[in-house]
Every structure is written in structure tokens, then in C-alpha cells.
Amino acid sequence: MAEAISNGTVHATAQPNGTAPVAENGTHGYIHGTAENGTTTTTASGLSADEIALYDRQLRLWGAEAQKRIRSANILLVSLRALGTEIAKNLTLAGINSLTIIDDEPVSEEDLGSQYFVREEDIGKPRAEAAIPRIRDLNPAVTIRSGGPLAALLAQDQTFYAPYTCVIATDHDLLTLSQINTTARFATSPFYAAAIHGFYGYIFADLLTHTFAIEREKSNIPTAIGPETPTRSVVSVTAKRETKGSGKTTEIVQKQEIYCPLILANTSPLPSSIISSRRKLKAVPPLLPCLRALWDYQRTLNAFPSPSSSSDLVTFTTLATAKARELQLPLETLKADFLRSFMQNVGAEIPPTAAFVGGRLSEDVINVLGRREQPIQNFALFDGEGLEGRIYSLWSAPPEVMGLASNGQGLSWRGLLGSTDVSELGGVVGAAANGVTSAPAGAADAIVLD
């Protein structure tokens, strides 16, 4: 499958010092990476002395177990613009096994402003190919390769996605993102989407069912096993160790989050805890309806709105208003100033926003790989103008959880895309959300990773 779209651009694995490829955990059969572990012995932790020296400062944060999981991860990155550049940098530095990049668009002069892995002499070359040698230079232990053109990717089915521990797609329209998300989902690959527009950006996560550990100081109130929110539940609690004399105990809490695909998130309401509070509703940034409106605008007009066109402004405002209404937001929060500022920023790439959104997404991916820390559930909004970074759970029970998984192809993103009748969908979603905690264990197990 990989060969089918590789069109000759797959690079042979760099062998910096001639070591044999390290066979990783085995689930991802045909993507082999090389760990730059030289001739030194593997220590008790399972990492080589070289790795311990190189990754010292991060090992002290997340430990050897998480690092070994990171080391065995194969990541698919779709689109290598400013945001993709930051993600590629961060994940390569962290020491993943392999990074496969899909971007065959030619490098343009505009790209040079914030895509620092490409240079003037690369103008006209496919983006991934031009950038890969410089990304590889960051950490020779990581295999960096081109995954061929986007069109070929979109023609792939889930078998192509199966080897990837995580799939990240940036700067694409809703249709493209949803298609990748859906196919990745069939392969049980966690999926992230993200984009930036000048000062603004978002991150979306669909991690299917994700279990993670949080280490924290034990409070006086015992941690209850069971649901915490419609999507999150505490699976188990383990006391770690008592620190003598201090009376403080650390506990490791295993939690689970259940996700839904982008296409469903895009029509999901805000959680009832927010809808029921006028104060919280008013605090929801207008960026949220604007991003939804932008996807609609793109789908209908196949372009971004132009800030200098008053008709575009009218069309966009109408869409944004509809989205604000759909989200049950007070319409006065959708200020004209903000709409103008958002339209001014649409489609622009600026380095600090790329660094923030790409940095936060990478941090989430690294934690997901290490199965530590709370991941984003499921929509994070960044506003570098107002210096805000809210996270909202825009969730509806996915078909599997609703007991439709047995259909196999039952998840029809095309069908859902047409459905904008929120009140109707909202009803279904509400019912599903109530039912989720009592969903048959088998249904949930079917989509548990690993």
C-alpha cells in the first residue's frame, strides 16, 4: 500500500552510523526506523546511554516508559506549511520513530516567511521533499520520509493508515480533513486536525478511546471511579507511595476519554454545563462560530472570504451568525470588530501563531503517545490577538458507541456533512450522550487502541 503512492520519493532510511534498524514494538510492521544508539549498551530502562544523554531533560519530565512509546511511534503528517513545520520540528526533536510527510505542493515565495525548513533555492520543488533533509538534520535517529501526493492519500483506505500511531492533518478544508479522519478512524489511528489564520488557530482531536495516566497529589476526598464528564471517566486509582513524614501521597489516576470524529464535532453542541450558564456562554470566543462559518464558506464558495470585499463580509457574517445561533451563543458576542479582524487574518501564516498551535498540538501528541496527561477534548481555540486559549468539548456519541459499529461502513461522513439541522441532530446527540456510560462494554472495546 505504501508503495502505491510513494512515487519514488520515499527516501532510504538514513543510517547515520551504520547501526542496524531497531525493531520497534511490532504493531507497525513495515515502517522500520533506526535508533542512533551507536555501540553503547542498552540500560535497564530499555533506552541506550546515548538516548538517555540526548533526551535527559525530557526523560526527567515523562520518564523512560513514555520515551520508549514515543520512540516506537510512526506519525503521518499531512501538509507542511507553517504549522506543519512546527509540528515536524517538535516531534522530530522528541525522538519519534518515523515521520511521514504528505505535501507535494510546490514551494512558493510566500512560504519562505514562516516555513523555515525551505529556502529560496527550493521555490518550485514539492514542499515535503524540499524540507525533509533539514528536518532529518534535527535528529538523525528519526526516519523522515515523504508520503507522496495528497491526491493519492485520499484514494487510500484504512490499510494505508494502519501502521500510523497518529495522523495529523493541517491547513485543509473540512471535506479533506473529515475524509482523512474517517479513514484513520477505521484503522483506529488517533487523528488531529489544526489550522492557523494569522493570529487565530484551532486544534481538533479525535483519539477514539484514549486511556491515560495522571499523577497527582492525593486529596482528602477520595477519587471516585466512574464518569467525570460525558466523555471522561476514571478507570482506576493507584496510590503511588507515601512520602515519609510529609503526609502527602501521590496517586496515579487512569482516565479514559471517548472522542468523536471531526464531522460530528462540527455539528455538536457545547456541553450542557456551558449552555446552562449564560456567563459561560458569553465567554465562548466568537472564534468558534467563525471557524465553523469558514468551513461552510469554503465548502460553498471554494475560497476564503476576502476582507476587502463587502459582499464577502456580508456572506461571512450571515454564516457566522447562523453558527453562533446553532451553538446557542448570545449574538452580541459576535462583535463586528472581531469579524473584521478574523476576516483580515484568514489564510495568513505568522510564525508565532504557528509556533503556539503547532507546539500545543505536538505536546498533546507526545503525551498521547506516552499515555500520560489530559489530552485536548476535543476543540482548542487560540487567539493571539486577545491572548486566549480555550478548550471546548464539542462532542456527540460516535456511531460505534451508539451501537452502529456492527455496520462496518455505517459511519457516513458524507451523509452527516449534509445534515445541518442542529435541533434535530442535537436531540439525537443528547440521547446518545446520556446513554454513553451505559453503552455495552463490547462496543467501546472495539475502538480501544492497541
Partner: protein, 624 residues
Amino acid sequence: MQRRDRGIAQSLGLLLTKCVKESRVLLVGAGGIGCEVLKNLVCCGFGSLSGTASSKKPGIVVIDLDTIDLSNLNRQFLFRKRHIKKPKAFVAKETASQFNPSVDIDAHHASIFDSQYNVEFFETFDLVFNALDNLAARRHVNRMCLAANVPLIESGTTGFNGQVQAIKKRVTECYDCNPKPVQKTFPICTIRIWAKSYLLPELFGTSEEESADVAVTEGDSADELAKLKEEAEALKNVRRMMGKSEFAQEVFNKVFHDDIERLRSMTEMWQSRKAPEALSFEGLKAGSETEIIEHGRTLAEQDQAVWSVQDDLAVFTYSLDTLSNRCLTGEKVIEFDKDDKDTLDFVASAANLRSHIFDIPLHSEWEIKQMAGNIIPAIATSNALTASLCVMEGFKILRSQLGSVGGKEEATLGGAKMVFLNSRSTERMITTQTLAPPKADCPVCSPVYAKLRLRNGEGGKATLQELVDLLKEKVGYDEFAITTEAGIIYDPDLEDNLEKPLKDYVTHGNGFITVSDEGDEAKVDLVLSTVAHSGEDAELQLLPDSIMLPYKPKRESPAETNGHAKEIRATPEVVAAPTTTSSAGAKRKREADEEAESVKKRVMASKSEVHVVDDDGAILLDDD
């Protein structure tokens, strides 16, 4: 406008984009945050049009004292393996310059404390970014920026946490408006500290006389003191045996047996706690001395494993042997350095042996390195996030200067905020606080800043008397005091120094002299930044030439003060601002040194107290 600037131009608008390109920025530090800030600055085109066509100055200046280490490479992405040991500033410039050929970077491999970086140097910038890892340098740059009236963007990270603070004189709080937690978070005499700051210096440190000097503190009984002197004397005797085959055994039995037995004999201490169990070299050793040393050498490679007590004895013997050889072949003083493996082996094994004696869990050498070496976990993403926010703040500050002077934009610094990363929250990626106005009584930012120009940086033959006369004439002082880094050098009752040359007190080209009004109705303090000049001007010269100081705000009654304080306090938008980052991930080398020094002093001063404190804050056995 080049096509590569399209994104910036579209988002920021042409006016602010032009301002960004024409600004001149200083980046202090090219480490974790610094590399990321530099990348953003270069890509945004900061300083690409700074200066005029005739006098083009580099738009970005980066200063860093450090060289590149392997452990930097997981996050300082401008550096590669081939750059290890090279100066960070130079390599950062070399790599980042390729991101944007229109940006000119000036790289300095130097300390920011150097005299060339005086107030006039700082005045040439529109923005200063702090990307530092220690408190002392942060405070220094804060002060320089206040003196030069340049906006400062301060930042720090620790693990997943990070924070950014914009500072502008007379508009916001400065870095020192809120007292920073004193670096005493390490419980004194923790076992790691004992090994690193007491035992190692006692054996391989400074002169014997000094190290054996036990300070007398109040309340020490004469008996206790005599015993302590005896103990120190005994160690001194043991030290003289260095190089002899029984050295390791003697040291071991002295500190892990005799001293412990002495402690154990103080039965009243062990009524509620388990008494320490002394160890004996003979009882633990396995094999000949050579075998033990060889075993220790092998074990020392396994820094991830938790060694057994026998293993610790072997590593202790091995490291003592290595350090003794170094000492006897000319190294006068061996100090703890986390990257000096021999000293780390010694500290790790000694700490573990003592931990075993007090029934405290043992740790691997790798873990002890973190505790003893003050290693702060650091990752690429937190640095990238924090640095991106620094540059966002930079945009806001530049924009505030575009608007009408004194307008709303300037008063709010263009919407700049105090920002914290918030990685563990399910609701927010960042939390913010509005920037608080300056604290009226802040000793650092409430004074008026002016310059004192000194010929050749020391004022030639000028005496303190001449400075006093100058201040009386130009500022209108009556009764006042003058303080330098050396302390008070003049006040109405201290006239002894008047005839001394000023250069006795002002040796740097970038020092500060504080003048405080001692009159009944006091005016605010005046801080003079010293600047060298080599021209034909007078030896001493105030800039501006005459200074009108306002009176200090009247002291209000406590109740009013509280009300006032509340009013001007930061209004947190989110109450749960992380507190763990309040020291902004401060400290490394410099502070580590300071900490070690102060710990050493306290160890000396308080040896009558028996401290047995695990690093986790566990067992605490104070004598009182």
C-alpha cells in the same frame, strides 16, 4: 514589501509590519526559549530595516555566555551534535540567519553583566527579550531596561509550565515589584546537599583551616561545640591520609560509623524515630581493595540502577580513589559539578550510604544528579509555546507605541498581558492576568533613573566629595545617602569617604549608584547608571543635567493601604493561575552556586542541629 512577508503584512497590517521591520531588538539568552524566540524574530523580519541606509545596524542582537551541550539538543533546535562545545550565540546566529537573508544578526558570546552592555547600549533597542535561566541576570536586565526605558519581555519555563510578562517602566509592574521566592526551597542539610556541600568540600575543597572552621551560633552548648571541633579535626586528620591505601576505609568509617555512633548516643533524639544504623567498611566490603575499585568503576556506568549498599561502598571507594589521584596530581580544589562524573559518583554513593543509615529510600545516580545538580526538566514544546507568546507580546508593545502618545493603547501596553501556560487544564491552554501597574514602593522601579557619565568609566581623579557637591547642586539635595553595590558610602553621618576617589566605588562601566533623600519630606530615590566617556567633557557629568525629583507618596494607614493595594492589584481573569512557575523556572549555574555557598555557610553555622532531611522533605530531625 517582499512576498515572503505576505502573512505578516496581511495579519499585522502595513503600519505595524513596517514598525516590526524597523525595530531593533535585543535577545538575552540563546538557550531553550532563546532559540525559539530568535526563530520567530528572524522569520517575522524583526529589524530587517533597522537603522538608516547610511548607518545600518544589525536589527537583532543576541547575547549568550553558554556553549552547546548534548543535553540541549532535544529542544534547542538551532544546534546539532556537530556544534557541541561551540558558543550558543554564534551557532544560533549561523542557523537562524538562513531563515531570512534580509535579517542581520549580531551575536555576542559574552555575559550580560559585562561593562560594554551599559545603559547606553540598552537604549539603542526598541524591545528586549529575556530568555534567561537565572534570577540574577533577569534582575540585572530588568534594571537596565528600567534605566534605559526600554520595554522588556520576560519569560521562563519549567517542564510543561511557562510564563511571559511584559514590563514597561511607569506602565506595568517590573520584574522586582513582587519579591521573588528566596532560593531556599532546598531543605538545608538534605542528604544530597550534605554529600555535595559538606563532605566533598571537606575532603577536596578549599584550605583545611577554612573548612574546619565551625561557626559559633547562639545556644550551642560548650560540650556540643567541643565535640564538633573534635569531629572536624578528625576529618582533617583523615584528609591527611589521602593517597594511602587505607584512605577510603578511614573516610568511610569516620563519616558512616564514628559520626553516626556519636549521633546514636544522643538517645533523647531517637525516642520517636528510628535510630541511625552505623556502617562499617570491613563488614560491608567484598573482595580486595583493587577488586572493590574495579567493581565501583563498572557500577558507575550504570547510572539508571539503584545500587545496593555494597555497590554504594564500591562506588564510594572507586570515586574517592579517582578524586584523590586528581587531588594529588595537582588539582588544588575539586568542587561539585553535575557534569564532572567523578564528583557525581562520589556524591551519589555517599548520599545513598547516608540515606541507608537513616533508613531513607536510595536513588539511582541519574536521579541524584537531578537533585544535586538542580536540573530542571525542559522540553521543546513548552519553550516553543512560551517563545511564541513572547513575540505576540512584542507585537502588542510595538503597536502601543504606534498610537497617540499617552493614549489608551499605551496605557494598556497594546493589550499585553501576563500569560501562563496551562497544560493540565481541560478548559484552557493559557491563563492570563492583566498587567498590574508599578508598585509605588518598589525599590527597583519607583526611583527616578538618570545617568552619571564618568571619564573612562571611573571619573578620573574625581572624589566622592565632587559627586556629593554635584548632586547638591543639580538635584537640590540637602540630607541624603549614597549606596553602591559595596553598601552605603555616604550619608549625613558618614563623611569618612569624601576624599576617596570615586573609582574606589565605581569599577564597572555599567554599575548603579542609588541616592536616597534622608530629609523629613523625602523625595523618591535617584538611581544613577554609570556610563564611561572618553571625551573632553567634565570628569563627572549628570544626564540629564538637572533633575527634579518628586516627593515619595505619603505613607497611608494600613487600612487605606490595603484598600489601595487591592485596587491596583492584578485582577486575575482566572483565579487558578499556576503558582509553580512564579520563579519562572529560574536558577541554574549561577544560583546553584549561590545556593551551594549559602548552604555551606548554613551547614557550618548550624551544625549543632542535627538535620537529617530527605530531599522529599521527609525526616526532619532538628535538635530543638
